[in-house]
């Protein structure tokens, strides 16, 4: 309150002392920040704390706050659970595939569409279009396309004698899921790469070409290094997305068959909302959060350090 009343006073002074001016600025900042801060505390921080709290209780989610304290039992049970081990394995598989297949593919398409060619703008729009669809619509669409009996994919492929059970077989479900993920997200990464590529001055490329560099050498030694920051951020987004992968899987397979495509978020949903073991589900969400947080911090600290100089990692002291 005192600072609030001092604010206008400070303004009336003909030449305010630097300290007072700085304080006035902080008041303004605080005022602008307040609504967002309240929302953030209420909708982000508070639920996180509640989740952390309920993760050490046996609790079915009904009535009041949990009372049956069981310490870290939920976590021991989680880390001993086969399903959770599978979830982690699926995460690893999907991250690896995304980074090693989906992103290079997006990069290749981006480079291709950076060439002068007829209908370039159209291709860009068409490739980006799947990203605009909601996850649920994508899920429903592909569960129809990949239906084993009457699905479009099998009808088309049966012409050349190939058929697959796609999502209905534990062995093919992960590749099929990855296919759908790629269909939906390669356009997004392509767009990021295109934007990154356009920030590279053409003079550099031309200079390389004048020096007699081949197309590959130009890409390898000029374009790729200069795309570094873009690639690092797209890997980051891709990994974080995969850790939280939920909607697409939920609609396409529900985590099945027989947990073969289950992700952490699906397991959490299953225990929290179908089985009413909210304490256990909270433990899963805490682990997911910790995993995302640790990855984000480590990645930003060590991989994206150069890109983020002065933004997050070196805050304080050196600004």
């Amino acid at each position: 309150m005192t600072t609030l009343t001092k604010g206008p006073e400070a303004l009336r002074l003909p030449a305010p002392a630097p300290a007072a001016r700085r304080r006035g600025r902080w008041v303004t900042i605080a005022l602008f920040l307040l609504p967002a801060l309240v929302l953030f505390l209420l909708l982000v921080v508070a639920p996180m704390l509640v989740a952390l709290y309920s993760s050490v209780f046996r609790w079915n989610g009904f009535g009041g706050l949990p009372t049956n304290f069981i310490g870290l039992d939920n976590f021991t049970r989680l880390f001993g659970s086969e399903i959770f081990a599978q979830d982690m394995w699926h995460l690893l598989v999907l991250v690896t595939l995304s980074v090693c297949v989906q992103l290079p593919f997006s990069l290749a398409i981006a480079m291709l569409l950076n060439q002068r060619m007829r209908g370039r703008a159209l291709y860009r729009v068409v490739f980006f279009a799947p990203y605009v669809l909601s996850e649920v619509i994508t899920g429903v669409l592909f569960s129809l396309i990949l239906a084993p009996d009457s699905g479009m994919a099998n009808r088309l492929l049966s012409v050349v004698g190939i058929e697959s059970e796609w999502l209905a077989n534990p062995d093919t479900v992960m590749p099929s899921l990855f296919l759908v993920m790629t269909w939906k997200y390669f356009g997004f990464h392509m767009m990021i790469y295109l934007a990154g590529r356009q920030n590279i001055p053409n003079e550099l490329i031309e200079a390389a070409q004048i020096d007699g560099a081949t197309a590959w050498e130009t890409f390898r030694h000029v374009t790729l290094p200069l795309l570094g920051p873009t690639i690092r951020i797209s890997v980051f987004l891709s990994v974080i997305y995969t850790i939280q992968l939920f909607d697409l899987v939920w609609i396409l397979t529900g985590g099945g068959p027989s947990h073969a495509s289950e992700t952490m978020a699906v397991t959490m949903m299953d225990w929290g909302f179908k089985r009413s073991q909210v304490g256990y589900a909270s433990a899963i969400s805490v682990v997911m959060f910790a995993l995302s947080l640790v990855f984000a911090l480590v990645y930003q600290r060590f991989v994206m350090r150069r890109d983020l100089e002065g933004a997050t990692t070196t805050m304080g002291g050196r600004r």
């Binding site: 909708l43 982000v44 508070a46 639920p47 996180m48 509640v50 989740a51 309920s54 046996r58 079915n60 989610g61 009904f62 009535g63 009041g64 706050l65 049956n68 049970r77 569960s143 239906a147 084993p148 009996d149 009457s150 699905g151 059970e165 796609w166 999502l167 209905a168 077989n169 534990p170 974080i240 997305y241 850790i243 939280q244 939920f246 397979t253 529900g254 099945g256 068959p257 027989s258 947990h259 978020a265 959490m268 949903m269 299953d270 225990w271 929290g272 909302f273 179908k274 089985r275 009413s276 073991q277 909210v278 256990y280 589900a281 909270s282 969400s285 997911m288 959060f289 995302s292 984000a296």
Partner: protein, 428 residues
């Protein structure tokens, strides 16, 4: 990052907010002594005809009789219904009137103080119901709902396809059943349609086999001693595996849903599989999901298992009923009574959508197959509610899940017993 936070936040918000209380009924005083205006939130899961229109019609009639009442119906398909109801009840609310299967799920809602004890309000009509239908809604001598349907799970089969495979009579024993499955396969017919993605239709096989092999009392006892590793339960698992090993299910069944255009019911309805193990609603869902089999559709009860401890006459299944939210206005109870009145309910029975729950309603059953179900039910030696409703949700879902793994061949019968036991113990 933000998405992660939102996900966590959403999960916990729903979990964290509790004790909000109160349905959506907002009585507003209006002048002239006429009754206050009331909106009744009504949730049910009859998405298939004829019930879908019949229920809507009843609601209109109730509104006409009670001009102060508006009924707002939310109709969801089975899985979505369970998920949405769990979410809303965890937040401390319940709809004013909602469909319930009774059993362990209802008990959890009662323990949380979300369901109204309507014993006093319905005392006058209780004697009109059959005891079997009422039992799922009565706990500790109190009544928490009124039944709208009661039936049992059994095999619905395609007479033409059975003929094609040279099967003249439906099997009465489990070994004869397995033989028939082989015959159907040999004749190039898919023996069984199954919705592997949804899991609950698969749990019927294990539940029925457990009922036949271990017996009714063993299933009831397991609810209290949390032990599903007993030899009889493992034996039930072995029989499920024996069936699954014959590969009797349609192509891609692990990804199939129940009532979607490519699902279990449609496969059956379009004559692409010879049978399905399903409850009394199967014919009406078949009609709405595919061409329908008409006269070719037959019914036979789950076969007896040789040497099993269970009675061959024990039935497994459930019905449906309407329960009232704890904070619902009194009109909600009136509505439930209205829906289950003889004159109103028998119309639903006549349509073939539900089976009799009232004494003396049997004559309203028109369909020959449903008559058979009603007769079996009337003469049943014992009755077991669906396991995913009878047990607490975590245990029920684990039964569904484990049986799905058994059918998919990723778990052994012994592992399945151990997994269910572990979850049952975690419920404490």
């Amino acid at each position: 990052m933000k998405r992660c936070l939102v996900l966590v936040a959403a999960a916990v918000l729903v979990a964290g907010c509790s004790g909000g209380g109160g349905g959506t009924a907002a009585p507003q005083p209006s002048g002239g002594g006429s009754p206050a205006k009331v909106t009744l939130e009504w949730w049910h899961l009859s998405t298939a005809e004829p019930l879908k229109s019949l229920w809507a019609q009843r609601a209109k009639e109730f509104e006409a009789k009670n001009p102060n009442v508006t009924i707002k119906a939310t109709v969801l398909e089975n899985e979505a219904y369970k998920a949405k109801l769990t979410t809303i009840t965890q937040s401390g609310n319940a709809p004013d009137v909602f469909a319930s299967w009774g059993g362990g799920v209802l008990k959890q809602q009662i323990d949380a103080g979300l369901v109204k004890d309507i014993s006093g309000d319905v005392g006058d009509v209780l004697p009109t119901f059959t005891p079997a239908a009422l039992s799922a809604y009565q706990l500790d001598g109190k009544t928490y709902g009124l039944p709208t349907d009661i039936g049992l799970v059994g095999f619905w089969y395609n007479k033409k396809l059975f003929e094609k495979a040279g099967i003249s009579e439906p099997p009465a024993t489990w070994s004869a059943f397995l033989e028939n499955v082989k015959k159907l396969k040999a004749a190039g017919v898919t023996p069984i349609a199954l919705a592997g993605k949804e899991k609950w239709p698969g749990h019927y096989y294990w539940a029925y086999l457990a009922l036949r092999i271990a017996g009714l009392d063993a299933l009831k006892q397991a609810a209290t001693d949390h032990d599903f590793t007993k030899p009889d339960f493992v034996a039930a698992g072995q029989q499920v595996k024996a069936l699954a090993d014959l590969q009797p299910f349609q192509k891609g069944f692990l990804g199939a849903a129940y009532s979607t255009p490519d699902g279990q019911s449609a496969t059956m309805s379009n004559g692409k599989a010879a049978m399905e193990l399903m409850g009394q609603w199967a014919p009406s869902v078949q009609t709405s999901s595919g061409k329908g089999l008409g006269e070719d559709l037959g019914f036979f009860p789950f076969p007896a298992v040789e040497g099993g401890k269970g009675q061959a006459g024990d039935a497994f299944g459930g019905g449906g009923g309407l329960t009232v939210g704890a904070d619902a206005p009194k009109e909600a109870v009136d509505f439930v009574k209205f829906m289950t009145e003889m004159g109103n309910h028998s119309k639903a029975v006549e349509s073939g959508g539900v089976l009799p729950v009232l004494k003396g309603e049997e004559s309203a059953v028109k369909d020959a197959n449903l008559k058979q179900v009603a007769t079996l039910l009337a003469g049943a030696s014992g009755y077991q509610l669906y396991l995913d409703q009878a047990y607490p949700p975590a245990v029920g879902q684990q039964v569904n899940d484990s049986v799905a793994e058994l059918i998919a061949g990723t778990k052994t019968p012994e592992e399945v017993g151990a997994d269910i036991t572990e979850v049952a113990k975690s419920e404490g």
